[in-house]
Structures are given as structure tokens and as C-alpha cells.
């Protein structure tokens, strides 16, 4: 288990993270979400030991992450990882093998084969997505207990995303790994994350079970004979209301059936429940917090 306790961090006078508390349980995939500049990458760097926390502490299986032994079970894949102009996939495998002796060459080559990559080619010739695929292969073949992935889907094509998500699921279910993954591809996260953490305004704005969070809300599309009055939805627990003439799209907090009944009381011509997704919730939530008004 990774525990982050009362973590604060700033760059000079600019406070980036304030009083962060977070727990990554074992065998879990946790999505780390937030707007650009929210501090997601900084948090991952702090957990992985790249940055030293200015106050608070980070424990990996009960040991402070500044201890090199604690980091033996952790693999951090930054958004733009290290390589030189001469580095090949094999060379990177050798480097990581130094620190992760359990690295499995067969598994590495298997993932490279999945992604159609050659280990002997210089990384400088790879596209951004190919580089990402290579490092994902490295991360998974290291078989670490904890995997921290920053902007994991960045540059990946739809097929690679699918392969990646499958590989992560295998690592969690068969390898017993825990994954903390930051991404703006919220629909992708929703597919395979068990829980989420939303970083906003320097701190953890909300967190919890992802499915539970999504199920707490419902979305409806309505059509009326006449455009409804502005205060028609006033009594409802609406997260957002979008009105275009006679048509209304509304997101409500609460049980879908109960909300449907309440909406029928407004006498719509059409009332249709729509699927609610995490991305939409995220947008509503951060907008509510004052981002991009």
C-alpha cells in the first residue's frame, strides 16, 4: 500500500500541492485526474522519489519512499522518459534490469511484439507513441508491485490503448500489481480504473470508487412543447442544465428512477435517459470549481 500523508510541495513561492492525503491500496488501478497544472505529475514524482517532499511523508509498504529499499517495488514511468541518442530498447532493458533484477526479457519481447516494435532500434527514431509503448513494455516486464504512470495514454493509438489496458489488467489481476495512472483520457480511465483521485486547487478535491461516483449521477435528454421557464428545474438536484429552445439536457445527482419520475412531472414530450460517463462528471465538477468559466 502506498500512503501519502499531509503532503505539501511548492516550487519557490508557488505552492503546487497542499495537504495531500491519499492511499493506493494493493491490487487496484487508481486514476489520477485534474486539469493541466493541477499537480498530477508533481504528485507522481513525489511518490516515486524523484522530488523530495517539503513536508508530509510518503510510505511505500510502511517504509519512507526516500529509502532506496522502499523504491525496489515501484516503477515510475514519466511522461517523457530518459533515453540518449544511442539508446535502443535492449539498452534500456539492460539499464532497468540493473535496478529490477526480476525483469523478464521474454515478457519484454512479448510486449514489444504486441506493439510491433524492435528492441534493437535506436529509440530516437521512434515516434512519441512508439516510445510510450516501449516504456510500457519495460514497466510491465519489470513486474513491480506498484506502477506509477504519467500521461499513460499520451500518443497511443486506439489499438495500442486497448493492448495497454489489457496488459495493465493482467498485471493487476495476475501479477498483483497496483497502478496509479494519470491521464486526461478519462473515458479510457473509466474502462479499467477501480478508483479515482481528483486533484484540484492544490489538493485532493474528491476521490473514491469510480463506478460508484458515476452511478451517483444520471443524465436525461428532454423535449418540451414550449421552451420551459428558466426556473423550471429549480427544485431538482441538478449538476448542470443545458437548454436549447425546447430541448434540455440535464445532469442530476441521485437515483436515476427517482429523478426520471421527478422530470416526468414537468410534462416533457420526450424524456430519455442517457449514459453518464466520468469525463462528463469531471467537466461538470471542475467547471463548478471555477475552471474555464
Amino acid at each position: 500500500m502506498i500512503e501519502v500523508k499531509n503532503l505539501n510541495h511548492s516550487f519557490g513561492k508557488h505552492q503546487v500541492l497542499e495537504n495531500i492525503n491519499l492511499t493506493l491500496p494493493e491490487h487496484t488501478v487508481m486514476g489520477l485526474v485534474g486539469i493541466n497544472g493541477a499537480g498530477k505529475s508533481t504528485l507522481l514524482r513525489l511518490i516515486s522519489g524523484v522530488y523530495a517532499p517539503q513536508s508530509g511523508e510518503i510510505l511505500i509498504d510502511g517504509i519512507k519512499n526516500t529509502d532506496e529499499n522502499a523504491r525496489k517495488v515501484l516503477f515510475f514511468l514519466p511522461d517523457d522518459p530518459y533515453y540518449t541518442i544511442y539508446t535502443t530498447g535492449n539498452k534500456m532493458f539492460e539499464l532497468y534490469k540493473v535496478f529490477f533484477p526480476a525483469m523478464d526479457k521474454k515478457l519484454f519481447l512479448h510486449y514489444l511484439d504486441t506493439f510491433k516494435l524492435k528492441a534493437s532500434k535506436p529509440i530516437r527514431n521512434f515516434s512519441k507513441g512508439m516510445r510510450r509503448q516501449l516504456y510500457i513494455a519495460l514497466a510491465l516486464s519489470a513486474k513491480p508491485k506498484y506502477i506509477l504512470l504519467d500521461e499513460a495514454f499520451d500518443g497511443l493509438d486506439p489499438l495500442s490503448r486497448l493492448a495497454f489496458k489489457h496488459a495493465i489488467n493482467v498485471a493487476v489481476e495476475e501479477g498483483g500489481a497496483s497502478v496509479l495512472i494519470s491521464s486526461h483520457a478519462l473515458r479510457e480511465l473509466e474502462d479499467f480504473c477501480d478508483s479515482y483521485v481528483l486533484i484540484d486547487n492544490k489538493t485532493v478535491a474528491s476521490s473514491g470508487d469510480l463506478a460508484e461516483k458515476v452511478n451517483r449521477y444520471c443524465k436525461f435528454q428532454l423535449a418540451f412543447k414550449e421552451p420551459p421557464a428558466e426556473d423550471a428545474f429549480k427544485g431538482l438536484p441538478a449538476l448542470s442544465v443545458e437548454q436549447t429552445g425546447r430541448f434540455v439536457r440535464i445532469v442530476l445527482e441521485g437515483d436515476a428512477e427517482e429523478m426520471k419520475e421527478a422530470l416526468q412531472g414537468l410534462d416533457p414530450v420526450v424524456l430519455e435517459e442517457m449514459p453518464m460517463d466520468f469525463e462528463e462528471l469531471f467537466i461538470h465538477e471542475v467547471k463548478e470549481r471555477g475552471y474555464m468559466k
Binding site: F11, R45, S48, G49, V50, Y51, A52, E68, N69, A70, R71, K72, L74, F75, F76, P78, D80, P81, Y82, K91, E94, L95, V98, F99, P101
Partner: protein, 536 residues
């Protein structure tokens, strides 16, 4: 520790190509110099036939330059990866403490240096053995001595380079630190002769501070090789305290190097540097020395350019034209401090003079900056330099009430013949205790590109530049016929056909800044020069 050794092995293997390239470069560089530099004529004094450390030092420079390049370039190459955030994202999450990480790169750099150094030293040793130049038993202690000295400098570079946040800042900081201590020592006494800390090191030393160390160790090793026993290296015996100081400082640098790795945040990589020993300190320090120096030159443009240079330094440090308030405050303080010191030091000089006069009421010091008004002292009347067509360009005298007079004059002659006549007169009078010029003797001078420059000795105060067409001589006299000199002999030589090239030499300057009284033995005229000898 297993991970440490695994990473060390990996880095060693990874740097093989670089090690080979650096070693081959060192090998071919040494090969290109060794035959012309290491030969008996460059090691032994042609007159005495003995090993001459000063002469040998001049010809061994090729090896010091190589060592300087290696001990600066290798750590910079090895540690430059830590200046990039992308690299640190990977290197710092690895399960290896930063102390061990720093240690691995420090040791791998040393091994790269060792390979290049051993190969180059091997070439030098082979040459020495090939021509049976010296007793060869000195080679092993010499190899170890130079290796140790190099590692001391290597450690300084590791710390200085790692203390800064970017490769550029690290390189500039490491290079600026080479000369700073020497300049701190040299500039004050260049500007104010009263602040005489002793014999200044050569100009090369200013540019390559660590060469002082390399030169002393290497030339001393050769000296040992020239002796019959071949096993006693004077430098280590006599200058052990210097080595101890260097070692202690290198130990401190090593400790700070490791601490930099432990404490410095990865987020600082690539950001403007903020190390207290880096550019934040060096820009005002160099600005202070530069400003103090240009104030002497009385040039508004140079003063303006120096201030501009300080600001440009800050622009480069901040990567922006927008400076921080503290940068402007530092610039203002630097200028203020340099101006204060510039104005205060002459006052201090006068105070020292006054205290000296109070202690010895008979002692007076007269310096006349206006040369046209100079009247020849009584003892020179009837035979003044002016009668020989000479112009006094500098005059200074010390006298007491007992009639003892010390005169220091810089003379510029319009014609060569007049100078020769004057020198002849000096030579004749030197031997005659009753002659007006008794005890006067000429020191060396030089004339370069139509500008004469005095060879600066302890008593000639400063160097002088003048567009005179002739030669400048510095004349000194003391009643006891002794003069404090820093040379055991000097030679004035010049071309027969033209006055444009007059060179001066001063060999055998007393080592380690010691100054002692030496009596004049003779001033001998030769067809191609004039030699003034002093007894050691």
C-alpha cells in the same frame, strides 16, 4: 550494495566508447608533443648541465594542459545527465540512494580519466626510458603523484559542476573558479604596489590555476628523477602542507558534492542556478575585481562596459532580461564596494607610510608623478640621464637624513647609442666607489610594438607603457650597494639593427615568494646585450 555494484558495472560498460575516444585523443595528443618536449636540452640547463626545474616546467606544459582538459571535461560529460529533468525523472526513481548514484558517476569518471591518463603517462615514460633521460625509478611515484593531484582537481570540478542547475552554468562556474583565487591575489597588488604579497605567479597560472599544483608536482618529480637516488620527491617532502591543504579542500568538495546530490531537488534541473558557490557568487566577485581594475584605467567606456558585463552575466543567469531585485542590489553593491576599496586603499597606503615615518622619523618617501618637474638628486648632478637624451618617465626616491638615498628611475632614450653610452657610464661607475653613479645598475626592460614596458620588480612599483622610441631602463641605487631583487640575474638583449625588439628575461626568481637582499656583482656589456649579475 548489490544494486550499487550492478549500476557501477552498467555505467562502466556504457561509457566504454567514450573512454576509448578520450584515451585515444590523449594518446595522440601526447604523441604529438612528447618528442619535441621531452629531450635533454629541455630538461637540463645548457650552462650548468644540471636539471633546471624552471626550464623543464616550460616544456612539460603540454602534459599539464592535457590533465586540465581531462579533469574538467570528463566530470562535465559524466554529470551533465543530471542537468536534465527528463533524465532525473528516471535516474532518481531507481532504487539507489542519491549518494550512491553520485558515487557511481564520480568513480566511473575517475576510471575514464585513469585510462586516458595512464596511456598518456605511458607515452611520456616510454620516451624517458627510450632516451635514458632520467633515473627511471621516479616514474612510479611521479605517476601516482600526478594521479593524486589530478583527482583533487577532478573532485573540485565534480562539486562545482554539480552545484549548478544547467550544463552551461556548470561549465562557466567550473572555469571561472580556476582563475578567481589567483586574481584575488594578483589584482590588488597589481593595482597597489604597497599591497605586496610576494612573488606573483605567472600569467599562465592565472589562466590555469590547477597548473600550479600540476607543475609543482610534475617538475619536482622530474627533479627527483634527475638526482642520483631518484626516489626522493622534494615536493612531497617540502610542500607537504600544500598537498595537505589541497587534499583537505578536495575532501570538503567531495563531501559537498555528495550533499548536493542528496539535497538538491530534481525540479531545479534546467532552472536558473542558485548555488552559493556558483554564478550567483561569481558574477559579483568577477564584477568586483573587473570594476576595481578598470577604475585604474580611468576610462569611462571601460567602466560602463564592466557594469554592462555584470548585468549581462545576470541576464544569462536568469535567462531573461527581467532581473530580480537582488541582482540589481548585488550589482550596485559590487560597484559601491569596488569604488570604496579603490578610494580607500591609497588612504591606507598613506596611513602605512605615516606610521612608518612615525616609527623612524628619519625616513621620508618622495614620489614625484610629474616627471617634467623631477630634479636630479644631488649625487647625480653633472651627469644626469637628461644629458644622454633620456627622459625620466618614472621617478621615485627614498632617503633618510644620513644621506642614504634609494632612487628608482625609469628612463626612455631617444637613441640606442645614447642608451649604450649611458650604460657604459653606469658600468664604469659601478666599479668606482667615488663616482657619482656608484652602485647604480640597470635592470631589464622590454620594448614591444613601439611601446616600452618596464619589467616590474619589487621596487619599480608598476609597469609603464609609453610610446617612447627608445629603451627604458630602471635605475636603482642604494648606498649600501645592495638591492632587494627578485631575480638572481637579468639579461637585456636587443637586436643589433633595430630597437623594436628588446626582450628581457628574469630567471631563477626566488621560489615561493621569498625576497632577499642580493648584492650586485657586475654589470657586463656584451655585443648583443647587457647582463646585470647579482649574488644569490
Amino acid at each position: 550494495m548489490k544494486t550499487f555494484f550492478r549500476y557501477f558495472g552498467y555505467r562502466l560498460k556504457d561509457s566504454t566508447l567514450r573512454t576509448i575516444v578520450v584515451s585515444l585523443f590523449s594518446f595522440f595528443y601526447t604523441m604529438s608533443w612528447v618528442n619535441s618536449s621531452i629531450e635533454p636540452a629541455n630538461i637540463y640547463n645548457s650552462e650548468t648541465g644540471k636539471y633546471d626545474k624552471e626550464v623543464a616546467n616550460c616544456y612539460l606544459y603540454f602534459f599539464y594542459i592535457l590533465l586540465i582538459v581531462l579533469v574538467y571535461v570528463i566530470p562535465m560529460m559524466e554529470l551533465s545527465r543530471f542537468k536534465n529533468r527528463r533524465n532525473l525523472d528516471t535516474l532518481y526513481f531507481f532504487p539507489l540512494s542519491r549518494t550512491k548514484l553520485a558515487l557511481v558517476h564520480y568513480l566511473v569518471g575517475i576510471l575514464q580519466f585513469l585510462a586516458a591518463y595512464t596511456l598518456s603517462f605511458g607515452v611520456v615514460a616510454f620516451r624517458i626510458i627510450e632516451i635514458s633521460l632520467l633515473y627511471q625509478s621516479f616514474l612510479i611515484p611521479c605517476y601516482l603523484g600526478m594521479l593524486f593531484s589530478s583527482l583533487l582537481v577532478y573532485t573540485f570540478v565534480c562539486y562545482l559542476f554539480s552545484s549548478e542547475n544547467t550544463v552551461f552554468d556548470g561549465v562557466v562556474t567550473s572555469l571561472w573558479w580556476i582563475a578567481l583565487p589567483t586574481l584575488v591575489y594578483l589584482i590588488p597588488q597589481t593595482i597597489h604596489s604597497s599591497l605586496d604579497f610576494g612573488e606573483p605567479s605567472g600569467f599562465w597560472y592565472v589562466l590555469f590555476g590547477p597548473m600550479i599544483l600540476f607543475g609543482e608536482v610534475f617538475a619536482s618529480c622530474f627533479e627527483s628523477g634527475a638526482s642520483a637516488t631518484g626516489d626522493a620527491i622534494d615536493y612531497f617532502k617540502e610542500e607537504w602542507y600544500m598537498l595537505l591543504i589541497w587534499t583537505a579542500l578536495a575532501g570538503l568538495a567531495f563531501f559537498l558534492y555528495l550533499r548536493t546530490f542528496q539535497k538538491k531537488g530534481a525540479e531545479k534541473a534546467g532552472a536558473p542556478s542558485s548555488s552559493p558557490v556558483g554564478l550567483q557568487f561569481l558574477i559579483p566577485a568577477w564584477g568586483y575585481l573587473g570594476f576595481w581594475f578598470v577604475l585604474q584605467l580611468d576610462s569611462v567606456i571601460l567602466i560602463f562596459m564592466t557594469i554592462l558585463s555584470i548585468l549581462i552575466g545576470y541576464f544569462i543567469l536568469r535567462r531573461s532580461f527581467k532581473l530580480k531585485k537582488k541582482d540589481l542590489i548585488c550589482t550596485a553593491l559590487t560597484i559601491f564596494l569596488a569604488l570604496t576599496v579603490f578610494l580607500a586603499v591609497p588612504e591606507v597606503e598613506r596611513l602605512i607610510e605615516r606610521i612608518a615615518s612615525e616609527k623612524d622619523p628619519d625616513y621620508t618617501h618622495v614620489t614625484t608623478p610629474n616627471f617634467d618637474e623631477v630634479e636630479a638628486p644631488v649625487f647625480l648632478q653633472g651627469c644626469t640621464p637628461k644629458e644622454f637624451g633620456a627622459t625620466i618617465t618614472r621617478f621615485s626616491s627614498y632617503s633618510d637624513k644620513q644621506g642614504n638615498v634609494d632612487v628608482y628611475m625609469a628612463l626612455s632614450f631617444s637613441e640606442k647609442e645614447l642608451m649604450m653610452n649611458y650604460l657604459d657610464l653606469l658600468r664604469a661607475d659601478a666599479a668606482d666607489p667615488n663616482a657619482p653613479y656608484s652602485g647604480l645598475y640597470a635592470l631589464s626592460s622590454s620594448l614591444i610594438d613601439g611601446h616600452t614596458t618596464l619589467f616590474s620588480t619589487k621596487y619599480t612599483l608598476d609597469s609603464i607603457a609609453t610610446p617612447a622610441a627608445g629603451c627604458i631602463l630602471t635605475i636603482s641605487r642604494r648606498n649600501d650597494k645592495k638591492c632587494i631583487m627578485e631575480c638572481d640575474y637579468g639579461v637585456i638583449s636587443y637586436s643589433k639593427e633595430t630597437l623594436t625588439v628588446i626582450q628581457s628575461y628574469c630567471y631563477g626568481s626566488f621560489e615561493r615568494g621569498a625576497v632577499k637582499d642580493v648584492p650586485v656583482l657586475a654589470t657586463n656589456y656584451f655585443p648583443n646585450g647587457y647582463e646585470v649579475s647579482f649574488k644569490e
